[in-house]
C-alpha cells in the first residue's frame, strides 16, 4: 500500500484553471473523498493522479515517488469509472483478466486471481457473460474486480455510485467499505454526495472552484466545518453573516449580531475562527439542533439566550420529522428547523438555538466567478 501526496497541483484548459494549487495527502490504506459540486475540479484532480491528463504545476507522489513522468500504464493504479467503462466485446472473465494479461501473469494464476477478485466483490458466477447482459450493480462490481485484481497501489473511484438507484447505492456503499477494509487499498473517491463522503471516508477533501476548501475526517468536518462554504456543502441549512461583539460574557459565550437583522445570538466560543478578518463571521446551525415549540406569547427572556419567536411560513413532512420554514423578526432569512410536533402554517412558534450548537464559521472569500480563475 502506498500513500498519495498531491502538492500544489494545477491544471488549466485554455484560459480556465480546472484545478489550482490543490494539495492533500491520502495516507496509505486510507479512504479519502474528494467532495464538491460539479465543476469544482474533483474529477480533474483524479485524472491528474491517474495520469490521463498532464498537470501544469505541482507534483503527485505515490508511495513517495513522483509519478508525473510516468504514463498511466506504468503507475499501477486501479480506476473505477462513473459509467464503469467495461470492455463491451469481452466477457466478464476477460474484462477482469485484462490487467493481469498485460502484466504477463501465467494462465493458471490469472484464472485463480480472477476467481478471487470476482468472489471478493460478491459477484455470482457470471464469468462468461458479456457486460450488456449484466445489471448496473453487477457491472459496478465487475469494474471494481477489474481494478482490484491487479493489486493496485491506489484505487481511484470516479463517482462510481451515481448511476445506481437509491437502494442499490446504499447497498454498494457498504460493499465498497467492506472491500476497501478487506483489501486495505489506498482509495481516492470522487463524489458530489456528502452522505457518501461521510459514510465511506477516513478523510474528506471539500473542493470549490478548483481549490481545496477544507480537509478533515468526517466527524471533524461535520462538527466544525472550516468555512461557510464547507458547512453549506455539508448540509448546514441555516447560515447568516454576523459580526462578533466585544468581550466574552461570563457564561463563556460571545455575542454575535446578525448582519441585516436586529437579532443578537450568543455562541459558545471563546474567539472567532482563525483567519477571520474584522470580526466578520458566518453563523451556522443545523435544522435538527433548533428546538421548536408552541409560543405562549409570554416574554422570552426567561428561556435563556437565543430564544426567538417566529411564524411558520411553510412545512414539509419527511417521514421521520417535519421540516419548518420559520420567519423570525431580526433574521434576514427564514430559519429552517425540524421537529416531531406538527404546527400549521401561520402558527406562532418559539425557537431555541442552543449556544453550543451554533458554529462560528470563517466567511469565504468573495465568490469567484470563472473569469477570476484565469
Amino acid at each position: 500500500m502506498s500513500d498519495v501526496e498531491v502538492s500544489g497541483v494545477s491544471k488549466r484548459y485554455d484560459d480556465l484553471w480546472a484545478v489550482k494549487r490543490v494539495s492533500f495527502t491520502a495516507p496509505a490504506g486510507s479512504f479519502t473523498s474528494l467532495l464538491g459540486p460539479s465543476g469544482c475540479g474533483k474529477t480533474t484532480t483524479l485524472r491528474l493522479i491517474a495520469g490521463f491528463a498532464a498537470l501544469d504545476e505541482g507534483e503527485v507522489r505515490i508511495g513517495g515517488k513522483p509519478v508525473d513522468d510516468l504514463p498511466p500504464w506504468r503507475r499501477n493504479l486501479g480506476v473505477v469509472f462513473q459509467n464503469y467503462a467495461l470492455f463491451p466485446f469481452m466477457t466478464v472473465f476477460d474484462n477482469v483478466a485484462f490487467g493481469l494479461r498485460r502484466r504477463k501473469v501465467s494462465r493458471s494464476e490469472t484464472a485463480s486471481r480472477v476467481a478471487e477478485a470476482i468472489d471478493l466483490v460478491g459477484l455470482p458466477d457470471l464469468a462468461q457473460r458479456y457486460p450488456r447482459q449484466l445489471s448496473g450493480g453487477q457491472q459496478q462490481r465487475v469494474a471494481l474486480a477489474r481494478a482490484l485484481v491487479v493489486r493496485p497501489d491506489v484505487l481511484l473511484l470516479d463517482e462510481p455510485l451515481s448511476n445506481l438507484d437509491a437502494k442499490l447505492r446504499a447497498e454498494m456503499r457498504f460493499e465498497l467499505k467492506r472491500i476497501q477494509r478487506e483489501t486495505g487499498v489506498t482509495s481516492i473517491f470522487v463524489t458530489h454526495d456528502q452522505e457518501e463522503a461521510l459514510t465511506l471516508s477516513d478523510q474528506i477533501v471539500v473542493m470549490n472552484l478548483g481549490t481545496v476548501a477544507g480537509a478533515a475526517p468526517p466527524k471533524a468536518i461535520w462538527e466544525q466545518p472550516e468555512s461557510a462554504y464547507v458547512a453549506d456543502f455539508l448540509g448546514v441549512e441555516n447560515l447568516f453573516p454576523g459580526t462578533v461583539g466585544d468581550g466574552a460574557a461570563d457564561d463563556g459565550t460571545v455575542a454575535v449580531s446578525v448582519d441585516d437583522g436586529a437579532a443578537v445570538l450568543h455562541v459558545a466560543a471563546d474567539r472567532p475562527p482563525d483567519g477571520t478578518p474584522d470580526r466578520a463571521v458566518v453563523l451556522g446551525i443545523r435544522s435538527e439542533e433548533i428546538a421548536v415549540r408552541r409560543s405562549d406569547g409570554a416574554d422570552n427572556a426567561s428561556d435563556g439566550p437565543n430564544a426567538l419567536d417566529g411564524t411558520v411560513r411553510e412545512f414539509t413532512y419527511i417521514g421521520s420529522a417535519v421540516v419548518y420554514q420559520v420567519d423570525c423578526p431580526g433574521l434576514p432569512a427564514p430559519l429552517i428547523a425540524t421537529a416531531q410536533e406538527e404546527f400549521p402554517v401561520g402558527a406562532r412558534v418559539r425557537l431555541h438555538l442552543p449556544p453550543g450548537a451554533i458554529k462560528l464559521l470563517r466567511p469565504d472569500a468573495p465568490a469567484e466567478g470563472p473569469e477570476d480563475r484565469q
Binding site: 491517474a50 506504468r74 485484462f98
Partner: protein, 287 residues
C-alpha cells in the same frame, strides 16, 4: 435495449412507409435480375432447353473471360486493402480533431464524390501520364530512370478506384470511432496497456463493425465499378464490367453480356455471404 424497443413498437407504421421504396426495389432491381437470368441462360442452339449454362461457364473457360475475372477480383482486393490501411489512420486522425477541423477534413474526404468520373479520370491521366507529376517526381527522387506506365493499365484502375472508394471506408470507420467512449481507453491504460496495446486490443475490436461495413462497401463497389476502370484502364486491361460493355455495345452479343452479368451477380452474393458469416462470428459479442 433501445434497439429492441424500436423494433417492438414500430412494427406496422414504418412498414407502410417503406412500401414505395420496396416496390421500386421490386420493379427496378428484382425484375432486371430475372431478365438477366432469362437472357444469360438462354440456350445457344435453336433446339436447346432453358436454362443453358454454356455461356456462363464459357466466361470461365475463355481466356479473356478468365483474365477479366481474375483481374476484377485482384483489383478489388488490392483496392480494399489500400483503402483499409490508408483510410484507418486518416479516420483516426479526423476522429481526434476538434469540431472545426473535423468539418473541414470531412469535406476534403468527401470531395471525390463531387467530381464527375470523367473529370476525375482525366485528372489522373494527366498526373500519372509519362510526363505527369507522378513520373517526374519518381525520376527526381532517383527511384526510376525513365517514365513507367502508370495509366491505361491495372495501376491506373487501382489508383482511380482507391481515390473514388476511400471516402466509403473513412466514413464507415469514422462513424464507429467517434462513438468510442474515451474512458474505455483510459481504463485499458490504467490496467497497464501501452498505447499500441490499447489500439490492437480496444480500438480495433471496437471499430470492427465499421471496418466490416467499410470493406463490404469498398469491395462490392470496386467489383462493379465501370466508369473509372473504363477510362483509366485502357483497352488492354478488361475487367468484368468493361468486358460486359464490350459484348453488349461493340459485339451486340446480349447473351454473352448477360452471362457476365450473372457471374458478377454470383460473385457479389458469394462475397456478401462470406462477409456476413465473418461478421456474425466476429461481432457475436456486440449483440
Amino acid at each position: 435495449m433501445t434497439a429492441g424497443r424500436a423494433r417492438g413498437s414500430g412494427g406496422r407504421f414504418p412498414a407502410s412507409l417503406a412500401t414505395p421504396v420496396l416496390l421500386a426495389f421490386a420493379v427496378f432491381i428484382v425484375a432486371p435480375c430475372i431478365m438477366l437470368l432469362v437472357k444469360g441462360l438462354e440456350p445457344t442452339a435453336e433446339t436447346g432447353e432453358w436454362p443453358d449454362f454454356t455461356n456462363v461457364l464459357g466466361v470461365f473457360d475463355s481466356k479473356v473471360g478468365q483474365q477479366a475475372l481474375n483481374r476484377t477480383i485482384r483489383i478489388s482486393l488490392i483496392v480494399t486493402v489500400i483503402c483499409l490501411l490508408a483510410g484507418y489512420p486518416v479516420a483516426l486522425f479526423i476522429a481526434r480533431c476538434g469540431p472545426r477541423w473535423r468539418g473541414l477534413l470531412l469535406a476534403v474526404v468527401i470531395f471525390p464524390f463531387l467530381i464527375s468520373a470523367v473529370v476525375r479520370a482525366f485528372g489522373w491521366t494527366v498526373l500519372l501520364g509519362d510526363s505527369g507529376l507522378a513520373n517526374k517526381g519518381l525520376i527526381a527522387l532517383g527511384l526510376i530512370d525513365r517514365p513507367i506506365t502508370l495509366v491505361q493499365n491495372e495501376i491506373g484502375i487501382i489508383v482511380g478506384e482507391t481515390h473514388l472508394l476511400m471516402p466509403y471506408m473513412i466514413l464507415s470507420l469514422l462513424a464507429v470511432l467517434q462513438r468510442i467512449d474515451p474512458n474505455l481507453k483510459h481504463a485499458a491504460e490504467s490496467l497497464g496497456a501501452s498505447p499500441v496495446s490499447v489500439f490492437w486490443r480496444i480500438v480495433i475490436p471496437l471499430t470492427l463493425p465499421g471496418l466490416l461495413t467499410g470493406t463490404l462497401l469498398v469491395f462490392s463497389l470496386a467489383m462493379t465499378a465501370f466508369a473509372t476502370p473504363f477510362l483509366l484502364g485502357g483497352g488492354r486491361t478488361p475487367i468484368l464490367t468493361t468486358l460486359l460493355y464490350d459484348y453488349a455495345f461493340t459485339l451486340f452479343d446480349w447473351r454473352l453480356a448477360a452471362s457476365i452479368g450473372i457471374v458478377l451477380l454470383i460473385l457479389g452474393i458469394l462475397f456478401v455471404t462470406v462477409h456476413r458469416f465473418v461478421s456474425s462470428r466476429g461481432m457475436r459479442s456486440y449483440g
